[in-house]
């Protein structure tokens, strides 16, 4: 049974189609990820799902409740960790949890028991009575995860859960997210623009670009669509090289961007001599060859024709969007 069900969801601003007719289902207890560059429509989608933004068109149901018709019931069944910290830093961690619990109408005994539980889940018992302004970035994220779980939600939404954290902290937050999913038996919907994050955490990933979903599948399946191994060749004449290689039966997928060719295949060791021979025959100069297992970055490149970083809007652009 699917716990999130989205049909033809759209959000249009004056001249921007932030989310342009997306469809997907999320299964119970799944970790489902939205992967895409900044500005792809990930946060807009999450804001519609958590009832903070009204969709222009389409329907979204969470645990069977429509986000438009039953926002209050939706709110009771979900927990959210926003992209930017949403904590009161003049209160202690525990007080932030207590505030949340009371906003959700939890009774005293239940509240106190649950605060202890969630603090233990994120290992913040010792910092419970410290003001949040003295927390590190990672601790803030963890207390927010704990808060998102306070009222026993069915679905937890995480908008870029590790944005702005250093690699070490990121990894520890990932492990916390994984353990929440297992221990609390909760469905998790997350957005990210980190390939490794989607790969490490998500059971299924939707690749989203310019408001549209390009593909949804398990990370392993997405990668195997490209081939078991990826060969990247940098050469003097990309077009010519692709045309020559296309004829080979063992090539499972092939794409060219500028003079860089990406080939998906298997048994890569045996293919290298063949490639070199073809290059020699066609008088193509090969500058470098790289062999590796495919990553989601390759998948993204395959579906969008761009690397995820290429399209990240510059900080200046972001600044303009916010203030102009």
């Amino acid at each position: 049974m699917s716990i999130i069900s989205v049909q033809n969801l759209k959000k249009y601003y004056k001249d921007v189609k932030a989310v342009d007719g997306i469809n997907f289902e999320v299964n119970e207890r799944e970790v489902f990820g939205f992967l895409g560059p900044n500005g792809a429509g990930k946060t807009t989608t999450i804001k519609m799902l958590v009832t903070l933004l009204k969709p222009t068109e389409g329907t979204a149901k969470i645990t069977g409740y429509d986000v438009k018709k039953d926002p209050d019931k939706v709110r009771r069944s979900i927990g959210i960790v926003f992209q930017e910290p949403a904590l009161d830093d003049r209160l202690t961690g525990k007080e932030n949890l207590d505030f949340h619990a009371r906003m959700y109408g939890m009774r005293k005994e239940q509240r106190e028991k649950r605060i202890k539980e969630v603090l233990k889940l994120v290992d913040l018992e010792e910092k419970a009575n410290t003001l949040v302004k003295n927390y590190s970035g990672g601790m803030k994220r963890r207390i927010e995860l704990a808060r998102g779980l306070m009222h026993f939600p069915k679905v937890l939404f995480l908008d870029e859960p590790t944005l702005g954290l250093d690699p070490q902290t990121r990894r520890s937050v990932w492990d916390y997210i994984k353990s929440l999913n297992e221990k609390e038996k909760i469905t998790i919907f997350l957005t990210t623009h980190y390939m490794e994050e989607a790969d490490y955490l998500c059971k299924r990933v939707a690749i989203i670009d310019r408001g549209k979903i390009l593909v949804i599948d398990k990370p392993s399946k997405l990668k195997s669509r490209i081939g078991r191994d990826v060969i990247t060749i940098s050469c003097s004449n990309g077009e010519l090289c692709v045309n020559a290689l296309k004829k080979e039966k063992w090539v499972e997928s092939i794409k060219v961007h500028d003079s860089i060719i990406t080939i998906g295949t298997k048994n890569v060791e045996k293919k290298l001599p063949i490639i070199l021979k073809i290059a020699e025959k066609n008088k193509i100069e090969i500058k470098s060859i790289d062999i590796r297992k495919p990553t989601l970055e390759d998948v993204f490149l395959y579906y969008t024709g761009r690397k995820i970083r290429d399209q990240e809007i510059s900080n200046f652009e972001k600044f303009k969007r916010r203030f102009v």
């Binding site: 903070l52 904590l87 949340h100 009371r102 906003m103 109408g105």
Partner: protein
């Protein structure tokens, strides 16, 4: 009919109390400023006489209710600022996404702001006692806290309205300083309405704060321009209107 979320109202109030008590700098400045004004202006202008006023009233007696209103006005209006801070730092999202209706959020916020304002008003009241302001003991004294609360509600309504219409903290501060100072000076808080030129007095009639100051004078020192029930009626009406406007605009504002 919307049902109120009482626990949410309580915790929103509680949060403001905690923040208020922990902000030591604000506590001290909120205490010192009115004290300075009352002491320096009150004693400094002690020799000033206002023809037509009861001769037993000194300037500091006239001034004290004005300064009390002043100390109520600022924390009340600045409730709007705290909402803008919450928006800036994302905490407002946490509040708005909870299964709590906006009316409960407005009520909790208002009660928090009003409590802080009344506490400050009471501090200034006790400072006035220490400085020897002659309080007239009468039944009207019971109305003093009522006038304080109503004045606070009017100011909170103003603050909420401005905050909902403003995008930035700077904008809010600009508008507030543009608005609050005239409201305060025109309200007759530093000088009695009787001795104002009539054109100035006419302007003062349109200042909602005038009725807070005059009503408080009636209940504290037994002297006022209007009878107390006029001020009371005007203030009750105004506080309903302003709070209504404030919650209406807050309801409509987006995250």
């Amino acid at each position: 009919m919307i049902s109120l979320n009482y626990q949410a109202i309580y915790v929103i109030w509680l949060r403001q109390m905690k923040r208020f008590i922990r902000d030591k700098g604000r506590l001290i400045s909120n205490f010192i400023q009115p004290f300075l004004f009352l002491a320096v202006l009150g004693f400094g202008l002690n020799a000033a006489s206002f023809p037509g006023l009861p001769s037993n009233l000194r300037y500091i007696d006239i001034l004290a209710p004005g300064i009390i209103v002043w100390s109520i006005l600022f924390p009340s209006v600045f409730i709007g600022l705290s909402i803008l801070w919450d928006r800036q730092f994302g905490f407002l999202q946490e509040v708005l996404v909870a299964p709590v209706n906006r009316l409960s959020i407005v009520i909790g916020t208002t009660l928090g702001g009003a409590t802080i304002a009344i506490l400050q008003g009471l501090i200034v009241f006790f400072v006035s006692l220490v400085l020897g302001v002659s309080i007239k003991i009468s039944l009207l004294l019971i109305l003093a806290p009522v006038f304080m609360i109503l004045t606070s509600f009017v100011a909170i309504g103003i603050g909420l309205t401005i905050a909902s219409k403003m995008e930035s903290i700077e904008g809010f501060q600009f508008i507030v300083s543009l608005l609050i100072m005239p409201l305060l000076f025109l309200s007759g808080s530093f000088s009695p309405l009787d001795t104002m030129p009539s054109w100035l007095r006419t302007i003062a009639f349109f200042d909602p704060i005038t009725y807070g100051v005059d009503g408080l004078r009636a209940s504290l020192i037994g002297y006022s321009y209007f009878p107390f029930y006029i001020s009371l009626t005007v203030l009750i009406t105004l506080s309903i209107v302003m709070m209504g406007l404030g919650s209406y605009f807050f309801n409509k504002s987006e995250v």
